[in-house]
């Protein structure tokens, strides 16, 4: 069984032109089978990106990519709930990131995203009975744990969050607005200024976290670089690569070369390290440790 690659949804508030340029290039050049599109973090951003998704989806599908429509992780407003319902009615695969979407999508195939709390095989089986077709478990789970769940659920594809700043938390409060002395309701979209999220340092100037509106991510960049045999042994079928502003086509090429056994983990680490990344590489979660621990292939 070969390992498939997924490009996860973009967490950041990229302007429509940037989104278009980014996904057109992915469509043409990135060796990934599946691409997630759609706003996941903040419903207030949707009016900006909504107009460009149809052409992006068309271009990706023309490029032979399977498109997955990702849905909001923390819907509250009626408008956001309606958006989820509409996306769930689509014939394409949909990614569910909040239980809110479950009734609208029940019985039809969906991807269970990392914002759902699927921590064990009993919960995974419940979602599979309701239509889960692929599962990307919460980022804090180790490969061993994901493997234990995957072994117990042989009919679905398990996906590991393998690259990008780690999605660590969501809040009702917008931290970008708070930082700029604004309220969420009149936020002025200051999150747009930080295309990789804004790094949060400790008082001792140590990079630690990153803010992205209502989301908190790691400052460091996840890099799970397991040899393909290890993933196959653990019944892990897919790797999820999460968009950052670095050259994502090169990132996907590195993971493709790693997954096909062309290069070793150590070489993949060196190549990733040569890119303009927003933070150092970590993989502690994959090893069952603190997420911030430096990537071990070094």
């Amino acid at each position: 069984m070969s390992i498939a690659l997924t490009l996860g949804p973009t967490f950041f508030h990229w302007p429509p032109d940037r989104l278009r340029d980014f996904y057109y290039r992915i469509a043409d050049e990135a060796p990934v089978e599946r691409v997630h599109v759609g706003e996941v973090i903040c419903g207030k951003r949707m009016p900006f990106s909504d107009p460009v998704w149809p052409e992006i989806i068309e271009r990706l599908e023309r490029g032979g990519k399977e498109v997955v429509l990702s849905t909001l992780a923390m819907p509250t407003l009626p408008r956001e709930r309606r958006a989820i319902e509409e996306l769930c009615a689509d014939g394409r695969l949909v990614e569910i990131n909040d239980v809110t979407a479950l009734p609208a999508r029940a019985g039809q195939p969906f991807v269970a995203g990392p914002f759902l709390n699927i921590y064990n095989e009993a919960t995974a089986r419940f979602f599979i009975r309701r239509g889960a077709h692929a599962i990307c478990p919460p980022v804090e789970l180790s490969l061993a744990t994901i493997g234990a769940i995957a072994m117990a659920c042989p009919d679905v594809a398990f996906e590991v969050f393998a690259f990008g700043r780690l999605p660590l938390a969501l809040s009702g409060r917008c931290y970008h607005a708070r930082l700029h002395g604004l309220h969420k309701d009149s936020c002025q979209f200051t999150c747009e200024q930080d295309a990789d999220g804004l790094v949060v340092e400790t008082l001792d100037e140590q990079a630690f976290l990153a803010m992205n509106g209502v989301q908190t991510l790691s400052a460091q960049v996840q890099a799970v670089l397991s040899p393909p045999a290890e993933l196959t042994t653990r019944a892990i079928a897919r790797l999820r690569l999460s968009p950052q502003t670095c050259d994502m086509v090169v990132v996907t090429q590195i993971y493709r070369a790693l997954a096909s056994g062309e290069i070793a983990p150590q070489e993949a680490l060196v190549r990733l390290g040569g890119l303009e990344l927003p933070g150092t590489l970590v993989d502690g979660y994959a090893r069952g440790a603190a997420g911030v621990l430096a990537a071990a292939s070094a």
Partner: protein, 333 residues
């Protein structure tokens, strides 16, 4: 559900002595958990053995109070039995309800103990009519503990759209992140609320007194720094002082705790069935004092007294430590 019955006061108990103190001080219900990682306050020296739970429930029932057992972490992959056993034990102890977040636990309860009330933990982060409707349809939950991200107006709209009781936090620790969806603690320390029932765990904490200041660290990360003579706080990750975009401060949340005492009347009008006090890690003296004050405040609210009078009743609780009404007021966001 827009409930017009008397609001229930739900109080924390980390030990049998605290349970008795809360009941004596006027708690309508007490919530507590077993001494293991099945509950979200898994701290050394806290919580109940099965025998203590049975005795505590007998005591509470004898005084007209209920006991709600929290089994609200997420069951370990490949080792889900302890969570099922905890649920079975709670039922055997005659618990009035089980509070759960993990679908594995909810499903086990719905399949095997349909007669025991099931409350959806705040850790499940259900905040929309659709999400709550799902938990109602799938597991027949009787009450939903609301995430601390909703304003009172949103709670009112939500309650008019759902057919299940809702419980809201009124006092104690305040999560600024949506509960049950926060991995900050495991990112720094390897241990988290969902996996281990702990946040910013004590074994990862260190205080470094050097030069002109005391530095509070979590797993080596500086969370805050204090001048000599000023008391050093516990380094809870989201309430630390950090720098971003050239600004230094409490970027996520100030070191405050929740006190929505002034909003009891508004919460009742928004259709809330039960008010919850946080603090299973607190001692019995603290719990007694807080429960007694809230007992009087809730009774005053039920008698139609205004929020100025209720504020007066709760005034003593605001001494020392800064407080906020959190997301209940929209400007918090």
């Amino acid at each position: 559900m827009t409930a017009q019955q008397r609001m229930e006061l739900v109080c924390p108990a980390g030990t049998p002595a605290t349970l008795r103190a809360a009941v004596t001080a006027g708690a309508d219900a007490v919530y507590c958990g077993f001494s293991d990682d099945t509950n979200a306050r898994n701290f050394p020296g806290l919580n109940f053995s099965p025998r203590e739970m049975a005795e505590g429930i007998r005591f509470a029932h004898g005084h007209g109070s209920k006991v709600l057992v929290a089994i609200n972490t997420f069951a370990r992959a490949g080792d889900t039995d302890p969570w099922r056993r905890a649920a079975d034990t709670a039922v055997a102890c005659d618990a009035d309800a089980v509070i759960a977040a993990d679908i594995a636990v909810l499903d086990h309860m719905a399949q095997n103990h349909p007669k025991t009330r099931l409350h959806l933990s705040v850790q499940a982060a259900a905040a929309t009519p659709e999400a709550i409707g799902f938990y109602l349809e799938a597991f027949a939950v009787r009450r939903v503990v609301l995430p601390r991200v909703l304003s009172v107006q949103e709670i009112k709209a939500l309650n008019s759209a759902i057919a299940v009781e809702t419980e809201a936090f009124v006092f104690g620790g305040l999560c600024v992140m949506m509960e049950g969806r926060c991995h900050l603690s495991s990112y720094a320390t390897g241990r988290s609320p969902n996996l281990n029932g702990v946040c910013s765990p004590p074994e990862a904490v260190s205080y470094d007194e050097s030069g002109q200041a005391t530095t509070a660290r979590l797993a080596g990360f500086t969370i805050d720094r204090y001048d000599p003579g000023s008391p050093a706080g516990y380094p809870t990750l989201c309430k630390g002082r950090f720098t971003a975009g050239g600004k230094t401060g409490y970027l996520f949340e100030d070191p405050v705790s929740l006190n929505a005492g002034t909003m009891i009347v508004a919460l009742k009008e928004a259709g809330i069935t039960a008010l919850k006090i946080e603090g299973r890690q607190r001692g019995k003296g603290y719990v007694s004092e807080v429960v007694r004050a809230f007992r009087r405040a809730v009774d005053a609210a039920e008698l139609g007294r205004d929020s100025v009078e209720i504020e007066g009743i709760l005034a003593a609780l605001s001494e020392g430590g800064r407080q906020t009404t959190g997301a209940y007021r929209k400007t918090w966001r």
